[in-house]
């Protein structure tokens, strides 16, 4: 379980988080909804210790990430897969090497086994035979899928998705959403998805945390969101569902 408690974070004089709290229970997908620029990506980086909050706690399996040493954080990160918004592929490495890099750090594999795992991870994201391509020759959607293959190849316990469907066409976005659901249902992966794409959020999410102005204004299921009388939540949901605010096709 991942429990985020009263996280506060400033960048210079600018407060980004002023009290964020939520928890992602085992084997569920929690979607963190909020406007662009609201510090959602920062939140994911704090969960795996790439950034430290100014105050508050983040517990993963009962241990506080905020107070961990660098070595402890390295060990913790082996339990996570992170899909970056821009995929963050290493542009000097092939697709195979990108995925293998994540595996090599976590154990000693024979080259044959590495190739098998890479091929399997690529088949999951529908990119069979893409091993020898360079990232520069991939489309945005393909990059994201390779990024996802790299994140899931080491078989992580937790998956963090940073805007997984932003900038993708509807078909590719639907494919990514299905993958997120498959990972939860077939492998029992606990996931946190941060997005401002509410349509995708409702497809993949079991529960939702809605951020507004640097604080969590609601956490709950889809049914609880639909029934809420919280004006801020209703306003956020309605404005996000309007066609002009939805993610690009």
């Amino acid at each position: 379980m991942i429990a985020v408690q009263d996280i506060r974070k400033n960048f210079g004089d600018k407060p980004v988080h002023r009290g964020i709290s939520f928890e992602a229970r085992d084997k569920e997908t929690l979607v963190v909804l909020g406007k662009s620029g609201g510090g959602k990506s920062v939140l994911l980086k704090m969960i795996i210790g790439l950034l430290r909050p100014d105050s508050g706690s983040i517990e993963v399996d009962g241990r506080n990430v905020v107070t961990m040493s660098y070595r402890e954080l390295q060990a913790l990160r082996f339990r996570f897969g992170l899909l970056f918004q821009g995929a963050a592929l290493f542009d000097s490495l092939t697709v195979r090497e990108n995925i293998a890099l994540a595996l090599r750090q976590r154990g000693t594999y024979k080259e044959h086994d590495l190739s098998e795992i890479v091929a399997y991870a690529l088949s999951i994201v529908g990119l069979e035979g893409a091993e020898d391509l360079m990232p520069a020759s991939l489309s945005g959607g393909m990059k994201k899928r390779v990024g996802l293959a790299r994140a899931i190849a080491p078989n992580p316990r937790y998956m963090l998705y940073d805007e997984p469907t932003t900038g993708l066409d509807v078909e590719t976005a639907d494919g990514i959403n299905l993958l997120i659901n498959d990972l939860r249902s077939k492998l029992g992966v606990t996931s946190i998805v941060v997005t401002h794409d509410i349509h995708s959020a409702f497809v993949v999410g079991d529960r939702f945390a809605i951020l507004e102005g640097g604080v969590t204004i609601m956490t709950g299921t889809r049914a609880e969101i639909d029934k809420t009388r919280n004006e801020d939540v209703r306003k956020y949901i309605n404005s996000s569902l309007s066609p002009s605010r939805s993610s690009p096709p």
Binding site: R77, F84, R106
Partner: protein
């Protein structure tokens, strides 16, 4: 009606933001220095981690050393030629021609090859390192490495600095040899100095300490250029524009530091 006008202070001093600006610059410089020292301290404390990434290290040896050979050949040969030609031109007719060889070997070993190689490589190697690491930072590739459990400093920075420390002296020794060959060519073909006299001049003036001094300088320049370039690239901020600024800053800062260190090393070691 006459109006008495008091002499005004310079505009910069009347403006309180001038002092604020100076103060902020000073704080930023100290912050940078602290972060640089922190980076080097981290590298030294985690050298054992870097051994795991030996493949990256050999790739950097090739990039810094092998890929710089053409430019070193070009610069060193011409430096040797021009030193020989200018030395011969400045000598009185009654001074023996062997002096040309002596001047070339002394200038090349002590100063010209280490300094000019370092300045050229500050542009080539320094800019490349900063641009590479800076791009990796702004495209979150460094975050991705950390997220996979890699120690990104040991994986990216340490191999570059160690490769610089090893390959710069190798390039300088190579450059020394080429500069002497260039000097021989310039002296004999352009300035009519007999080849035998030139070589005798080299033999009589060669002191092994001069070559060793050049190697010490190259080692220090190698560390300086790669460490500054890595620092600027690893901590880049501000997207692609930030990468451009950091790359330019690396070239300027490494060139200035190399020239300054050149003077300090000459003062201390000679």
């Amino acid at each position: 009606m006459d109006i008495a006008v008091e002499p005004a202070a310079p505009a910069a001093f009347r403006d309180p933001s001038f002092f604020t600006h100076i103060g902020r610059k000073a704080i930023a410089a100290l912050e940078n220095l602290g972060r640089y020292v922190g980076l080097i301290w981290w590298i030294l404390r985690n050298l054992r981690n870097a051994r795991e990434y030996s493949k990256t290290f050999f790739a950097q040896m090739v990039q810094i050393g092998n890929d710089s050979i053409p430019i070193v050949i070009f610069v060193s040969t011409f430096v040797g030629m021009v030193t020989a030609v200018q030395s011969a031109h400045q000598l009185y007719s009654w001074i023996p021609k062997t002096v040309v060889g002596g001047l070339v070997i002394k200038s090349v070993l002590l100063e010209l090859t280490p300094l000019l190689t370092a300045l050229v490589l500050a542009g080539k190697v320094g800019a490349t390192i900063t641009a590479e690491l800076g791009t990796m930072r702004v495209t979150e590739q460094i975050d991705a490495l950390e997220a996979m459990g890699y120690d990104s400093i040991s994986f990216l920075v340490t191999p570059r600095i160690v490769a610089g420390i090893i390959m710069f002296p190798v390039l300088v020794v190579f450059g020394d040899l080429l500069a002497v060959c260039g000097g021989l060519f310039g002296a004999t073909v352009v300035s009519d100095v007999p080849g035998g006299a030139f070589i005798n001049g080299i033999k009589s003036s060669f002191v092994s300490w001069d070559a060793f001094f050049g190697i010490i300088k190259a080692t220090i320049f190698g560390y300086t250029i790669t460490s500054i370039a890595c620092y600027k690239g690893y901590f880049v901020e501000g997207g692609s524009a930030g990468v451009g600024k950091a790359t330019m800053a690396t070239v300027v800062l490494t060139c200035l530091t190399v020239v300054m260190l050149d003077f300090i090393l000459a003062s201390v070691l000679l």
